[in-house]
Symmetry: D3
Subunit: 138 residues, 6 copies
């Protein structure tokens, strides 16, 4: 029998952002993004759920050392995004609109680079408890 | 790389219902459904989680406009079910037993009709925080 | 130093109800209670938080035996209210409008009768996660 | 017996802010407020819990009409704060540092003005699920 | 159209455990498992989410009788694990390190034995709200 | 007007314990504490809510520096209790039965020693989401 298991670790950060497409006019942006286009920014407590999938090590009983996974999340996400303005302080969003869909994509790529190939990776990002997104690279 | 993402939106409604199969006798219904068969009804705060899957629009960074998705949910689910008696007030359950399995199926079909074909749809319904169901049309 | 401590125990039940004042006309009731006046009933998952306050027993380190408190809650609240129609199945609400304010009052009185005088009692009732009430007899 | 009851209603808004005392130097602000002093702002999903205390109306069984309370909260808090930059967009914080302690004070005063004198008012504000404050005017 | 639905039921138990691989030295175990290797044990409130997948019965509108599923969970998991020391009191872990990955595997196998073949089974186990695992036998 | 505010900070730790009164016989302990008396211990994820009350500083807009409060909680509670066996590893419980009522009392005393006299202190401890206690020294 397979011992393929999914292991989840959560984290959180808070940040300011605004939704804005530079190639659109102000009127287009305001019409499309509404309150989220506020030029003075608004913000969120983002909750992150990182899911790593793979075969359990039969000796240790671990899929991955959670302490090591926490280091990857801290270095790639928390230090880069927490208490930041995503549009102004985070290089990945200098040209990319920081929608939840784009933020989760950026986080997935950053964590994918740190994980061994034998692991699958899925990331869920809660912008609020009522709106959230998930990306798994497929 | 694919930009296929899942976007989730939550909503809630509360309603009365009873579980009852018309073609069974009262004794059969009582034996099978227990307290849930109470002829005077009981009720729940239903929490709904709607998941839409598809390719992100590269310009806007949106999968779907959440304000539009909220309109679909409000019109198809909240206006039809909130503060209602599912058995008596909702035509879909005049003949269909309003189990969580059947309610989530009805909601899925109503929302599926409103969404473009390029989207996949999955719906999760919490009858209580301890009992919930999910349907994705597959 | 005092060892006065508050001990909390939660429980939950679900029930149907409608808000209606018998001495008012249908129009008055509908205008005042809106959707909550639906003559076919709606329902909720009610979450209950019972708080007992008093001096800790220095030998056992207990304020009150939680297993005993659970028995009181089960007998007075869960057996009487769970999977019931509050208006039709619960005698206390045959004349009393089952608002959250009135339900918490009824629960407080039922539990107060079971507790020794040396305990203070406070009861919180969540009608939804967004609307809740608290009564402490003062 | 008294029928004094506490009724709670929740709401939420999200906003950007930074913590900064204008009469301090940048070095003092940075040393005191740390990451929260980021000049580009950060943000939160704020959860609000409004508690109104008073005597239940014996006829209706209501303390206060929740629909009316919701209107007060929407007009005084949600329209004024949601998707805003508290420092730049909300006049009350043009001179006042938008700490959670100060935000809850401002909200309390705005709601106090809308409520009849017979009600007591207490407001709890969650800046994150881990940090929150409460103010009751006493 | 398929009527394949997922039905979820939650449960909880609390237990003590320590992480330790018998064939490793104390130094290896301490270095690998850190605080979780404490020879005097530590503990958790485990939250369990059992997911059963299959075709809905068109007459009853049920996938599976939740009361029956609850009996399986109570007998196989709660009676065996609740208020226990997993290492000392639960035979399955006398040789197997009680990591979350291994606990969820043991629970899945115990429940799989009780369910008819027409059902698929997936089990999620929360060791804390921040760390959880999922196993579906695939 | 007073600016007296309550500021809350949460933390969590997990630990093993057993309930046992040394001066009682094994039979008495087993009869009184039931499953909680298991001689091999069981465990919990404890959630802590620390509430500090006092006058807000009008210049900074802070009641207390949360970073400093976090240091007190980490040093007094998390380092002392997390991933520990309360009965065996924590000196305060070598003679004192580690009921929730006694644990919250010990935590309150440890934190009270670190706080200035101008602050009031209240501590809430969740043993599970369903059972919790609160102590404020009064």
């Amino acid at each position: 029998m397979s011992r393929k298991v999914s292991v989840y670790r959560t984290a959180h950060f808070n940040a300011a952002h605004r939704l804005n497409v530079p190639q659109w006019t102000d009127e287009q942006n305001k019409a499309f993004f509404g309150l989220c286009n506020n030029s003075n920014y608004h913000g969120h407590n983002y909750d992150l759920q990182v899911c790593v999938v793979g075969e359990v090590d039969e000796v240790s009983g671990y899929l991955i050392d959670m302490k090591q996974l926490k280091v990857y999340i801290d270095e790639e996400v928390i230090e880069a995004f927490d208490h930041k303005n995503l549009n102004l302080d985070v290089p990945e969003f200098s040209e990319l609109n920081p929608t939840a869909e784009n933020i989760v994509w950026v986080i997935w790529k950053k964590l994918r680079n740190r994980l061994e190939d034998r692991f699958e990776l899925s990331v869920r990002l809660y912008e609020t408890p009522r709106n959230f997104v998930e990306f798994n690279g497929k």
